[in-house]
Amino acid sequence: MRRETIHAYLLLLPALVLLVAFTHWPAIETLIDSLYATPRGAHPAPFVGLANYTDLRDDPVFWQALRNNAIYAAATIPVSIVLALLMALAVNGALPGRSALRLAYFLPTMLPMIAVANIWMFFYTPDYGLFDQILGWFGGGRHNWLGDTSTALPAMIAVAVWKEAGFFMIFYLAALQTMPMDLREAAALEGSSRLNYFRRVTLPLLMPTTLFVLVNAVINAFRVIDHIIVMTRGGPDNATTLLLYYIYETGFRFWDTATAATLTVVLLTILALSAWLQFGVLGRRIHYR
């Protein structure tokens, strides 16, 4: 083998070994595990083929978790991205108090989700939590935000958006600040309106950032369940059970490792699909400078 090849592999080895050991190999292990039943006590696990998958298909909680996660993703991703863009635009312009605003938008991201969850749990408290108090000033009724199946998931969505928008804002801000000024001057000279300029020039140039932000948002929509663990524990009646939370519950509360593995395979498939969609399909339509 050429020396360069040997050197290359040596350089790659540590990182690759760890990557494979904790991402790729467990993924394969998960796939294999999903074909066996959960071992009971000291007995080895019996091979059951696709039985876990058919059981999962018949499990209403699984379908609810999928539905919840879809709604959760469909809400958090666009809202946080749009908000992030608006925030970046606001902070990038000549607004008075820019730095303070930037700080305000970004602070939630610096907090651990678990801290955020505690604070928001306090807010959502019926009767004397912040929301109900504010609503009270406007004459609104009290609401059991976390205890009502129709408001629990939106409540979680609000927490996630609050936490994430500021983080994405930074990416947009960096991108906006490296945009050439001459484009804008040229557009102003031609009498183009700000909105037009935004739509025709800024937005397309921001596509790489948007793709990057989108990838992060999708990952977070499936990965972050800290607030669920603390605030609702998946309830009420599984209204806030997301896929990863269901995996956590099945694997570590029920100790049903086979079902947890099966669920993980589903989650991995969803992530792989969305990766293909984003990089493969959207990535092609992006304008790179």
Binding site: L18, T23, L111, F171, V230
Partner: protein, 274 residues
């Protein structure tokens, strides 16, 4: 002029809108600060002249070994950062500047991890660490994250933009592979290192689920897990103490960001993360 007035009105509206959003965004944190520094009785009453108190913070500090949790977190984050810098630099360099069979395929394999974080593979990774006898250790928390696809991706991108003549010059001077890496590439990639470091530190400082699963004892628990364990109770929650503890655990990162915000944003810009 009409256009100018229109613009002024627009801008005023935008300013107000942005400010209202900013206040809305700050509200939870402000509320938490209010609750933490006032006695429990005022947690839900906004009496402007309510007495300030440090008692909540003191009680929270004494109630759980937060100093130890802080130490654990610092050790964890430092370990992860150092290892990631090392491993990702080496791998990124190989992908960027060396040619070898299987390079593109391996890079694609690495990129797979961008979408699949170790958190998702909770059960399997837990079992692996148990077999390695590393469960409930700080190294155990760190291990799954040390090979970071994001880091490799970022650094490779940066290395690709470093002009070849610089590399050639170093080679002419007789530098070997690692020397070239250390003297040419690493210094020029500083903004990327800073940006990546900031992302990594804040991610792992705030990471919760995986440390929750893998740690059992006080000597390994990071702040996030310590906070969650603290806030559940049979006897009943005292919100003032919980928010005090919450602020305490968030404070280090908050303060760091307050001090370094400009550098934070600038490094993102220079790193070309767009």
């Amino acid at each position: 002029m009409m256009v100018a007035d229109h613009n002024r009105a627009d801008r005023a509206l935008e300013t107000i809108g942005a400010w209202m959003l900013g206040i809305l965004w700050l509200l939870p944190l402000l509320y938490a600060v209010w609750t933490a520094f006032h006695p429990a009785a005022y947690a839900t009453r906004f009496d402007l002249f309510a007495p300030l108190t440090l008692k909540n913070l003191i009680t929270a500090w004494q109630a759980a070994p937060f100093a130890r949790y802080l130490l654990n977190t610092v050790m964890l984050v430092t370990l992860i950062l150092a290892a990631q810098f090392l491993l990702c630099t080496l791998a990124a360099f190989a992908f960027a500047r060396l040619t070898f069979p299987g390079r593109d395929l391996l890079f694609a394999v690495v990129l797979l991890q961008l979408m699949v974080m170790p958190d998702v593979l909770l059960v399997e990774n837990y079992r692996t660490l148990v077999q390695l006898h590393l469960a409930d250790t700080i190294l155990g928390i760190a291990l799954p994250y040390l090979g970071s696809a994001f880091g490799i991706f970022l650094l490779r991108q940066t290395f690709l933009t470093i002009p070849q003549p610089l590399d050639d010059a170093a080679r002419l001077e007789g530098c070997g592979l690692l020397a070239r890496l250390w003297r040419v590439y690493v210094p020029l990639a500083k903004p990327t290192y800073i940006a990546y470091g900031l992302v990594s530190v804040s991610y792992h400082w705030n990471n919760f689920l995986w440390p929750l699963i893998i740690t059992n004892s006080v000597t390994t628990r990071p702040l996030t897990v310590g906070l969650s364990v603290f806030a559940t109770t049979d006897q009943g929650i005292d919100w003032s103490i919980v928010t005090a503890a919450t602020l305490m655990t968030s404070a280090p990162l908050l303060v760091a960001f307050l001090l370094f915000q400009r550098q934070f944003v600038q490094s993102f810009m220079r790193a070309g993360i767009r």
